[in-house]
């Protein structure tokens, strides 16, 4: 997420760097680069105009010109402005005092509302809540069926009246249904609609008036361009929106729409969708997002995700072994399985500072290849896993045959493993990571 914007900003500051002191002239050049970077990132034209004006004002004067490291100070000013725009702190979901809490999802077609409804249900279920998924999209063929399937996958209740019912009736009746089934939260999946479609906008207003949801979340795609402001404005004018969910953050869109959406709706971004699995819903943190925009990575949410899924004791043991470079392929296999619990490796990599830049744009881990790595380790004896050094030519051939791979594949795995062992030892001892990272071997499975 946002790699390209980070790269651009870094480049902009690189040009500032090494000029000794910051002059008004070279600050202007830097800001022009930031302006272009923001526009390329799909931040709205008018929003960018305002942003540049704000940053110029904030940067103008002694503070920057007299500073020793002008580039860092400008980074801080840009960062602070981004945080200011994206809101102060992480905004949680509203819970009604008296159940059921009603959450309504609205937005244009194809933003991922139905999938997001399922993700929200999984999220709430994990918190001990009992959600009811309500299918109110009677227009898109099989949309209700899709929601029912997702409810099944999520292991939550679902309700609808079918494609011939009135969406307002479905939403109104869901209240009683929730009570009957003992559900404390209702998630209304409404049809995707165009903001210029008066009849459809009237319908969604009608639903809102009839059930007065506690949360009305505008679901929008992170790849959205300049038009984000127009659709968001119409929805905002028609409905009392309470928040935004940004989907498809696992693509490589720069996601500048986030800034536009917040500016227009005045609502916080409450969640971001980060993958196809129903678990792939993360909380949105403006501070971290700003860090991320400036290329500082999203290490905090990575840690949080790790805490949720990893076995702490095992993780600590592994870290100890890694530090002493004692870990073997058995540990590696275990570690891989732990990491897999956290979701897609590709998504994880994106959260590690510098990692995505290092791997370049479009870089991706082939998750299928990890399966081969797993198969190769499974084809080793316990002794071989513990002491990879004993794996000679004959053993390599056997492992290759056993795992359906080739000897060069096994060679590569063993080579990569040795390298990453060295690297981990180095990193955990706190070496000069930058130098090391440049020479970092590819993680087994990386393209």
């Amino acid at each position: 997420m946002f790699e390209s914007l980070s790269q651009k900003l870094e480049n902009a500051f690189k040009n500032l760097r090494g000029q000794g002191k910051l002059t008004e002239k070279n600050m202007k050049e830097g800001l022009q680069l930031i302006r272009m970077a923001l526009l390329e990132a799909d931040v709205n034209y008018k929003v960018v105009k305002q942003f540049i004006a704000d940053v110029t004002e904030a940067a103008d004067g002694q503070r920057v010109i007299d500073s020793i490291r002008p580039d860092q100070q400008i980074v801080k000013i840009v960062h602070d402005e981004l945080v200011k725009i994206m809101g102060g702190s992480n905004a949680p979901l509203i819970t009604a005092e008296k159940a059921p809490t009603i959450i309504m999802l609205v937005g244009l077609q194809g933003q991922g509302k139905t999938t997001t409804a399922g993700k929200l249900a999984v999220h709430l279920k994990k918190k001990g809540r009992k959600p009811l998924l309500v299918g109110a999209d009677v227009y898109r063929p099989a949309a209700i069926r899709q929601l029912e399937v997702i409810a099944g996958q999520a292991g939550v209740e679902s309700f609808s009246l079918g494609e011939h019912a009135n969406p307002v009736d479905i939403c109104v009746m869901s209240r009683g249904e929730a009570q009957m089934r003992g559900c404390d939260t209702i998630i209304l999946d409404t049809a995707g609609r165009l903001h210029v479609d008066d009849a459809m906008m009237a319908e969604v207003r009608q639903i809102q008036k009839a059930v007065t949801p506690h949360e009305i979340l505008f679901v929008a795609n992170a790849m959205t361009g300049q038009d984000a402001v127009n659709s968001a404005k119409q929805f905002h004018d028609n409905l009392p929106l309470t928040g935004v969910i940004l989907t498809q953050m696992d693509g490589d869109a720069r996601g500048g729409a986030a800034i536009s959406l917040i500016q227009i709706t005045g609502c916080p971004i409450k969640f971001v969708g980060t993958g196809e699995k129903l678990e792939a819903l993360d909380a949105f943190h403006p501070q971290r997002m700003a860090d991320q925009i400036l290329g500082m990575g999203d290490i905090v949410s990575l840690v949080e995700q790790a805490q949720e899924h990893l076995d702490q004791d095992k993780a600590i043991k592994f870290a100890e072994k890694a530090r002493k470079a004692e870990f073997n392929l058995e540990d590696f296999l275990e570690q891989m399985q732990q990491v897999k619990k956290m979701g897609s490796i590709t998504d994880l990599i994106k959260k590690i500072p510098g990692m995505s830049q290092m791997m370049g744009p479009g870089a991706d881990i082939n998750e299928d290849e990890l399966k081969y790595v797993e198969a190769m380790i499974y084809s080793m004896t316990l002794q071989e896993r513990r002491k990879p050094k004993i794996i000679n030519g004959t053993r390599r051939r056997r492992i290759a045959d056993g795992s359906g791979t080739s000897v060069p594949d096994v060679n590569r795995l063993l080579k990569d493993f040795e390298k990453s062992k060295k690297m981990m030892k180095f990193l955990l001892k706190g070496g000069k990571s930058k130098k090391m990272l440049r020479g970092m071997p590819s993680f087994p499975g990386a393209r």
């Binding site: 077609q109 194809g110 899709q146 361009g225 038009d227 659709s231 498809q248």
Partner: protein
């Protein structure tokens, strides 16, 4: 549902405003003569239509040079020059779909990221071809999204054409192969294969669609005859990257630009045409079955400059 007054009806309404909107805006900015503000105003219009920084800057540079060369002193001429240049870019390449399978069935592969409107495009395209008197078959190779095959089945029933599908979770390449096979043995004119939405950044999913293309080609060596990338008009600069990576994987032959009935302009297709040489073949302008239209560069350009 909105009654479909049609894209062109709405376009004409907008066109009335077009001239006034942009020309007045520019005129206001410069008060008669041709100054820096005129170019800034045009830059704003192009950026806000999602043409992107690079394309916009190259167009502005072109306009500056042309204005100097031809001593352009008024905004209307300037905008006329801009429209001509855009038309020159967008008229390159082959915009018309031929639907000629060279004796056998003509096979179209429909791809794109999630939510761009692939299944709807497959349905509407089927309706269009059916109405033109061709025998059409649908292949439901989206076996991933819940109920995607059911959604396409509804379309096949609406149009009254056969569909080849497997169970959810089945191998999409197997569906594509079976559909191609069925199209050959039933001697249909056109086969439209709908695929699952996939982000271009997912290596394994891009590998999967490569395989789909391969198995289709295995059954009919000249197929797929058309590979359409469905792009949502609200997509910003990422659209270029999508087009680039999908083309690398499956040799995209044309763009279908959907959801042009909102306020989004879809200007990223200008960058796609200019940088990758992929022509736009169809535009989606509404929800009704007839709202998929062949691409018309001139009308598209007029709409780029229309307000709202």
């Amino acid at each position: 549902m909105s009654e479909s007054t049609g894209f062109f009806g709405r376009l004409k309404d907008k066109l009335g405003k077009t001239r006034t909107q942009l020309v007045d805006g520019v005129r206001r900015a410069l008060g008669g003569g041709l100054g820096e503000e005129a170019f800034e105003e045009i830059e704003g219009v192009l950026i806000q239509a999602d043409l992107g920084v690079d394309t916009t800057q190259s167009l502005i540079a072109f306009l500056r040079a042309a204005a100097r060369l031809h001593h352009v002193g008024d905004t209307e001429t300037l905008i006329g020059l801009l429209k001509e240049e855009l038309a020159r870019i967008l008229e390159q390449g082959d915009h018309a779909a031929t639907w000629d399978g060279g004796g056998g069935p003509h096979v179209t592969l429909i791809a794109g990221v999630n939510g761009s409107g692939k299944t709807t495009t497959a349905g509407k395209l089927a309706a269009r071809l059916h109405r033109e008197g061709k025998s059409v078959m649908l292949g439901a190779a989206d076996t991933f999204r819940a109920a995607a095959a059911e959604q396409l089945t509804v379309w096949s029933e609406r149009v009254g054409i056969p569909i080849v599908k497997h169970q959810e979770g089945a191998d999409p390449a197997a569906v594509a192969f079976d559909a191609t096979d069925a199209a050959v043995s039933r001697r249909v004119d056109c086969l439209l294969i709908d695929t699952a939405g996939r982000l271009h950044t997912k290596v394994n999913l891009m590998e999967e669609i490569r395989k789909i293309r391969r198995v289709v080609q295995k059954r009919i060596p000249s197929a797929p005859h058309e590979v359409l990338l469905v792009l949502d008009a609200t997509t910003g600069q990422n659209g270029l990257q999508q087009a680039r990576i999908f083309t690398e994987a499956i040799e995209v032959t044309g763009i279908v630009l959907t959801k042009l009935d909102g306020t989004a302009k879809g200007g990223i297709v200008v960058a796609i045409q200019q940088e990758l040489g992929i022509p736009i073949k169809f535009i989606g302008v509404g929800e009704s079955i007839d709202d998929l239209q062949p691409f018309n560069p001139r009308e598209f350009i007029e709409a780029l400059f229309s307000g709202g």
